[in-house]
């Protein structure tokens, strides 16, 4: 089956930001506001991991592609008390240390809002200049920092700037972008610059992993969960073009797609449809991470004497292009959607997202080799009482299969094992939502190990208090049989001439036969 847009590649990045856990995670900021003397706040710093520990954490190595979901499933649970051989660089991306990430935030700031302490900036600038994807030119901005720590402390104390800490020391600050506008406050600017910087890092890795010429990417869709704008248009946007600018995607425009955790699945459907329609030949879907969710389940982790596992700002990018005859196709005709009328019972949700689209395509649940719903790392969620989220999804899919007579009741655990995946993604909302599997899915399809996968995005719209509704979309990715290469290449003059020629021949033939 040909003519679909294809999954050309994806990238995944993490930045380990323990100081941001303390100062920007909403669990911590809320605690500081309501219970500043709490035991939790006193205990928390002792539970922060070093960069090295975060790198040698197996789920993080899976996220950047050095280990596989199968490696993770084979490892005895829990994982936080074990170390694996960890590398900073991975097949799909990297794990960046906090100091370099703070430097990258400044590189992503085009309004001179980020101020770094001179010595810190100099050291960090050297590291970023030596970074293969950032380099001397981008890192040069760090050399312009002249502020002392005292001057930065003054900005924080007197100018409402948001402090930036590294190893417990004040190393910089993000200034407010307006003196009254709350949407341009220092807090919001830091949150948005962090999102932008992590998206940029992922885009740079996407260009590297796919080998695409950055000038060939024509459109970028950002699908994070933040909003940028001012007091007159709070979510005006757009992160996509802002990140594309820093990543050097000179021929791209873009826009932001939102849907809470379902954002990435919506964005990928948009991207695949734009490519299939011939509107653009290469579209990148990208998202940075969020400071607010750092240490979100920290209270339970501290209570159970565990390290704070939510210490990473994550990012990912995906490249969707016209059919190359090789890469897995995005079947934009096998799409599930949770509609306004679907209802909220778990059966209704899974029915709308999983079984309805498969029924329409004449496929059974077992025709899908792997399902990728919410891929949250259970090491984080189980101690916090939220259970194993991917496993809960698989059990519900399997239960529906039993009801439909496609799976035997006693075969549920085997179905979960065979068609499921063990979660490895950090709990950063949209980050775990279906997309972490795209890298492995592509590889496994190219290697002939699997034929089909279903990506499922689910979003908690009710958190925005505009509706009580839940949301979700899903789609199938399929191994490419090579028959449709070039069909979505779209505006190819030769092909147009060929089609006109064929049509004229047919017309002439019909005239002659009359």
């Amino acid at each position: 089956m040909g003519g679909y847009a294809v999954l050309k590649g994806s990238s995944y990045t993490l930045a380990i930001t323990p100081d941001m856990v303390l100062r920007s995670g909403t669990t911590q900021t809320t605690e500081k506001a309501v219970n500043p003397e709490s035991e939790y706040l006193k205990e928390l710093p002792k539970h922060l991991r070093s960069y090295e520990d975060a790198v040698s954490y197996l789920p993080n190595q899976v996220y950047i592609g050095n280990k596989t979901p199968e490696d993770l499933a084979a490892e005895e649970f829990p994982w936080y008390d074990k170390k694996t051989e960890g590398k900073r660089e991975g097949k799909y991306g990297e794990i960046m240390p906090q100091d370099e990430f703070i430097g990258l935030i400044q590189i992503c700031d085009v309004f001179d809002l980020v101020k770094l302490e001179k010595a810190f900036a100099k050291e960090t600038g050297k590291k970023l200049a030596a970074h293969g994807l950032i380099g001397v030119e981008r890192a040069a901005i760090l050399d312009k920092n002249e502020d002392t720590q005292e001057e930065i402390a003054k900005l924080v104390k007197e100018e409402h700037a948001e402090p930036l800490y590294h190893d417990g020391k004040l190393v910089g600050a993000v200034k407010r972008a307006h003196d009254i506008d709350v949407n341009l406050s220092a807090h919001v600017m830091l949150e948005n610059l962090v999102t932008k910087a992590s998206s940029v890092l992922s885009l740079l890795h996407l260009v590297k992993t796919t080998g695409i010429d950055p000038s060939e990417i024509e459109y970028v869709i950002d699908c994070c969960e933040e909003a940028c704008g001012d007091m007159n248009q709070r979510g005006g946007g757009n992160f996509a073009k802002a990140a594309a600018e820093v990543a050097g995607l000179v021929n791209a425009t873009g826009s932001d797609a939102r849907g809470f955790c379902a954002g990435p699945a919506h964005a990928l459907l948009n991207a695949a449809s734009l490519v299939k329609a011939g509107t653009f030949k290469a579209v990148a879907v990208t998202a940075g991470g969020c400071t607010a969710k750092l240490g979100m389940n920290g209270k339970d982790h501290v209570k159970k004497d565990m390290p704070i596992l939510e210490d990473a700002i994550a990012g990912f990018s995906v490249l969707i292009t016209a059919d190359d005859g090789v890469s897995p196709q995005i079947r934009t005709d096998i799409v599930g959607k949770h509609t306004v009328g679907t209802g909220s019972s778990p059966q209704a949700v899974i029915g709308s997202l999983v079984t309805n689209p498969l029924d329409e395509a004449g496929l059974k649940l077992t025709d899908i080799d792997k399902f990728s719903p919410e891929m949250q790392n259970p090491d984080i969620t189980k101690p916090a009482g939220a259970g194993d989220v991917p496993e809960a999804n698989y059990k519900m899919i399997a239960a529906l299969g039993v009801k439909r007579g496609e799976i035997e009741r006693k075969a549920i655990p085997q179905f979960v094992k065979d068609h499921g995946l063990t979660g490895w993604a950090p709990t950063q909302g949209h980050i775990p939502s279906g997309v972490p599997y795209l890298g492995f899915a592509r590889e496994d399809m190219l290697a002939g190990k699997i034929k089909r996968a279903m990506i499922i995005g689910k979003g908690s719209l009710f958190l925005g208090r505009m509706t009580n509704l839940f949301d979700g979309v899903s789609f199938v990715i399929e191994a490419n049989d090579g028959s449709g290469a070039g069909e979505t290449a779209g505006i190819d003059e030769g092909r147009i001439k060929e089609l006109i020629g064929e049509a004229m021949r047919e017309f002439a033939g019909s005239l002659l036969s009359k």
Partner: protein, 43 residues
């Protein structure tokens, strides 16, 4: 079922478990008065 009859109930549903509106329907059918219902996202 008598457990919930004529009782006032507060419902906190889970996005990845049983959402609020689904629990609400069950509680109502058991004769409870739902005074608050919401769904939360724990991830």
């Amino acid at each position: 079922m008598a457990l919930l009859k004529d009782k006032k109930v507060v419902i906190i549903g889970d996005r990845d478990g049983i959402p609020g509106p689904a629990i609400e329907e069950c509680a109502k059918s058991a004769g409870a008065e739902v005074v608050f219902s919401s769904t939360e996202c724990f991830v």
